[in-house]
Amino acid sequence: MKKWSAGLAFILMFSMVLSACSSGSSGSTKDAGASTEDKGSGSKDKVVELKFTTWGELTADSVEKKLADQFNESHPNIKVTFEPVPGDGYATKLTTSLAAGQAPDVFLIGEGDYFKYVDKGVVEPLDDYLKADTSFKTDIFQPDLINMGKINDKLYYLPKDFNPLALWYNKRMFDEAKIPYPNDQWTWDDMITAAKKLTKKDGSKVKEFGFNATKWEYPIYIYLWLNGTDIGNEDGTKAEGFMNSDKTVAALEKYVALTKGADRVSPTPQDTETLGGDSSMFMTDKLAMMITGRWVKGDLDKSDVQYGSALIPTGAGGERASIIAAAGWAMNANGKHKQEAFELMKWLSGTEAQKARSEKGQVLPATVAELDQVKSTEVVDKPVIEMMNYAKKPISMRSANAPIFTEEFNKAMEKILLDKSTVKDALDEAAKNVDSKIQK
């Protein structure tokens, strides 16, 4: 026993000595690195090196790659390198590189994480740079998108691309059932009535579904807003009385009833997964309507499905709401060349870049002028763009406590959908858990 502990102590000591040595020697290499970089920013004629990263965009013909090349041509004093990461590994990679102080100067963040990264202090606020630079005005962008990038009255994110949620419908299924397509006057109840007519059964088994009431939070948030409620208060500090309010309970009971019982109109989350996801079901005429982001177009266009888009139906009193899914450029708060990084951000979110991405056909431009042009020519995108006017911020964009809210809410939804609990009980418990976790 004694031998053991003596040996262990020896190893620990030795490793500490060694790690001290290694950090000493590596310290010198770091200094060397820093001094060359100092030279870089010290004299103006030296080239400053920048890096930026996105998920996806890995092919040689990616738009971002081209934008980087063009930026390098027009900025001889800056050399920017584009380093895309496979989607699966983006979070791990960004986290690791931020931890080690190795993160790129500009990186892309999804709207669901906007608040989280700002809250941790790793994103640089852009207001001072914008004030100093009169050539670049944020009013070229859709006001909603700039509004999204603002947290506590400071602007942190410049828009790259965005996907407003809208109602997508399968024309062939509507035609077959001889039902008129969704229109601007539709209320949520009108939609459910139509969904019932569109649902087709074979015995007790549903073969074709009218609408997809997913467990995904965004459509649920929209439905709750239309019913005058939310899962938390405005600044995300309280769940009791919100997540489990009578209004929320009533609305959710109605929502989950769509996937349950003899006259259900929606697949369960299991059904959806089984059938290869909502877009797969939609493409194979097994789903007539769904509320989702514009990204779904990419999938739908590959098949021969006849589809259209419409405004998300209103609440009983005619109110409307939507959420914009977006990705924005963030500046690394610990970057070494922030002014140059700002130049790069201007370019990556600016008019030229918006045009280039939009011409590729996958995304809508975030700038007003270009968007208006798309609106005037594109039929399918018109309701999608209009839906932007009703965008609200979900809790994940309002509060650092959002992960607590969403975790508990999702758990409650899971329980409800699996019939492990009633709506009321599950939400009561979730609200209690959220509040006690926030207190800590």
Binding site: S15, L18, A99, V122, P269, Q270, L418
Partner: protein
């Protein structure tokens, strides 16, 4: 053979490993030990590490998900380790027969273990698909309506255990090599003494391959506690945390909620648990593991 020259030579030969241990293992371990007593929002960089004493450990012992993840991991280990070992030994026995075509069979049984875990997971998501998956279709031929495997909290963990059975090729190969090390004379002698096949198995094969069983048992326990990729890709811990493996929970703490200190504390608790289990197996091994003329004790 123990003299100072030989001793020095011995140290020299293991030096690469020892240096590697210090730089690539103990250094990082020490760092994570320090972290386990700290609060660190990982993405804010190493400057923001803040010492908090035993706070992480205190919080862990009140953490519902910690116990859930322990439960999942223990159930998995307790069911899968014996199951995989028995299946592997049986298949290895079959594969040890000396007939033509064995080379091909060995290849087939080993194939699944050369496929990347991510690819295996993708494949099994398709297989477990309740409607189109080949598993439920096969069950349908026998008139059984299969469950929604991965989407049903009562079946998801079971589904992962079933899936693991498919990938025991590595263990089979290790048993196979153990079986090939059993001298033929022992079987012949037992047969002359009138021992039947079952008797030969229990009194010759099992004792002779007991070191292999012992090794695989330990590797199996370690593997169970380090289970990650499949759960990460296929269920991400769900439904209702029914597949929240310990390592997955640890990963989520570090890379999703950025609580690196907490995650480090979790990893040290995991290390302690594996160590205890392994020591129990090692201590008990003298009772049932047979060593063939092993004389070295120092």
């Amino acid at each position: 053979m123990r003299n100072s020259r030989s001793e020095r030579a011995g140290y020299l030969f293991i030096l690469p490993w020892f240096l590697g241990l210090l730089i690539f293992t103990l250094g990082p371990m020490l760092f994570s030990l320090v972290l386990s007593f700290s609060k660190w929002d990982i993405i804010t960089g190493i400057g923001s590490i803040e010492f908090v004493g035993l706070d992480n450990f205190k919080a862990i012992f009140h953490d519902e998900l910690f116990y859930q993840s322990l439960k999942v991991t223990f159930i998995f280990a307790l069911v899968s380790v014996p199951l995989y070992q028995i299946a592997s030994i049986l298949i290895a026995l079959l594969l040890n027969m000396r007939t033509r075509g064995m080379k091909l069979f060995r290849l087939i049984y080993f194939m699944p273990s050369v496929i990347p875990a991510v690819a295996v997971s993708m494949m099994w998501i398709m297989i477990f698909n309740p409607e189109y998956g080949i598993l439920n279709r096969a069950l349908g031929w026998f008139g059984i309506e299969g469950p929604a495997w991965l989407q049903d909290p009562s079946y998801a963990l079971g589904a992962l255990i079933v899936m693991g059975m498919w990938g025991v090729g590595n263990t089979i190969i290790i048993y196979l090599s153990g079986l090939q090390g059993v001298p033929e004379e022992l079987y012949e002698a037992a047969q002359l003494d009138g021992a039947g096949p079952l008797r030969r198995f229990t009194s010759v094969t099992v004792p002779m391959i007991s070191p292999t069983i012992f090794f695989n048992l330990i590797m199996g326990i370690i593997g169970g506690f380090q289970y990650f990729t499949q759960a990460f890709v296929m269920t991400n811990g769900g439904p209702l945390n029914s597949t929240l493996f310990y390592n997955l929970y640890l990963y989520n703490k570090a890379f999703v909620s950025f609580e690196m200190g907490y995650a480090s504390a979790l990893s040290w608790i995991l290390f302690a648990i594996i160590l205890i289990f392994t020591l129990i197996v090692i201590r008990s091994s003298s009772m049932w593991v047979y060593y063939n003329g092993d004389d070295e004790r120092d």
